[in-house]
């Protein structure tokens, strides 16, 4: 009992609060929990508060479902929590934060690549 108690009451030197994804689920079935935790904790370890969840696999209707607790998100951001990159991207797509630059850049690159493929596809077809 003493061992588990000392494991649970871990104190860190430095570190900061981070809002990130904690992976759960089973084999070939990931599931993310959006979680506010210390940066030095394990990814799936003890967290301060769960602020939402994300199902990365699309459902029957082709949607990727995510849930967010905006009230508590505002609180933690006001307390000075950092965000991980995927968390930032998700919040940007959700509309709570501005869109992440790499989302826009990725979309642009994808569009350009598709255009190039289309041109390459039409150019040999023309002969």
């Amino acid at each position: 009992a003493l061992f588990t108690g000392s494991r649970l009451l871990k104190g860190y030197r430095g570190g900061h609060v981070v809002i990130r994804f904690a992976l759960g689920g089973c084999a070939n079935r990931p599931f993310f929990r959006i979680v506010a935790a210390h940066s030095k904790r394990a990814r799936d370890g003890k967290y301060l508060e769960q602020l939402g969840c994300l199902d990365p696999l699309p459902n029957v209707h082709g949607e990727k479902v995510a849930g967010l607790n905006l009230e508590r998100l505002r609180y933690w951001l006001g307390c000075g929590a950092q965000l991980s990159r995927p968390a930032e991207k998700l919040l940007g797509l959700a509309g709570f934060l501005p869109l992440h630059p790499m989302t826009v850049t990725g979309a642009e690159r994808l569009r350009q690549r598709r255009q190039r493929e289309q041109q390459v596809g039409t150019a040999p077809a023309d002969g």
């Binding site: 505002r74 951001l77 006001g78 307390c79 934060l97 501005p98 992440h100 630059p101 826009v104 850049t105």
Partner: protein
């Protein structure tokens, strides 16, 4: 397909002290190619994004502080807290008054005790002095009385004559009670 199922995954099988494979001997690792104009665009987007993010964080922080302040100060205006505070203050005042009364009583009693004791002591002292003075007076008077029967150079001759005229016999015995035994023969 180029891959085949492995019993143990290859990644993580080699530790950092194992030498790289011979197939990787001529490998030249280059960073990914970067388009300069895209890079500028991306940097500008990042700058603006960070600006907006900083502003949002500041706003959220202000919100949290406001909530904390409101929770800390807003409670004072509620009626029940004020009433409880007044009640407690009144009780405190009562307690203070009671303690003060007790204390003043105690102090008064102690002062009286002190005065009484002092008076007693002074009386005793006065009595002692009186007794002493009386003793001394008595002694002085006794001495004066005795001084009348002293032998002075003027009385000397008369007293000598008187002694020689009245021979006194001290040759007697005394029993335990102090009475003179009258059975001895006068010498």
């Amino acid at each position: 397909p180029g891959w085949f199922p492995r019993v143990v995954p290859a990644r993580g099988r080699k530790s950092r002290h194992d030498p790289p494979a011979k197939s990787k001997a001529g490998r030249l690792k280059l960073p990914p190619p970067v388009d300069p104009e895209e890079l500028l665009v991306v940097l500008e987007r990042y700058r603006q994004h960070r600006l907006v993010l900083g502003a949002l964080r500041a706003e959220f922080r202000a919100e949290v502080l406001q909530k904390k302040r409101e929770e800390r100060l807003g409670r004072e205006d509620s009626a029940e807290l004020l009433e409880e505070h007044r009640r407690l203050m009144a009780w405190n005042d009562e307690e203070n008054a009671r303690q003060r009364a007790r204390r003043s009583e105690r102090l008064r009693k102690e002062a009286e005790e002190e005065k009484r004791r002092k008076l007693e002591v002074m009386e005793k002292q006065a009595k002692k002095m009186e007794a002493f003075m009386k003793e001394k007076e008595k002694e002085v008077l006794q001495l004066q009385e005795e001084a009348k029967s002293f032998i002075t150079p003027e009385n000397l001759d008369a007293r000598i004559e008187e002694c020689l005229d009245n021979p006194r016999n001290y040759n007697f015995a005394i029993d335990k009670d102090g009475r003179v035994v009258k059975r001895t023969v006068l010498s």
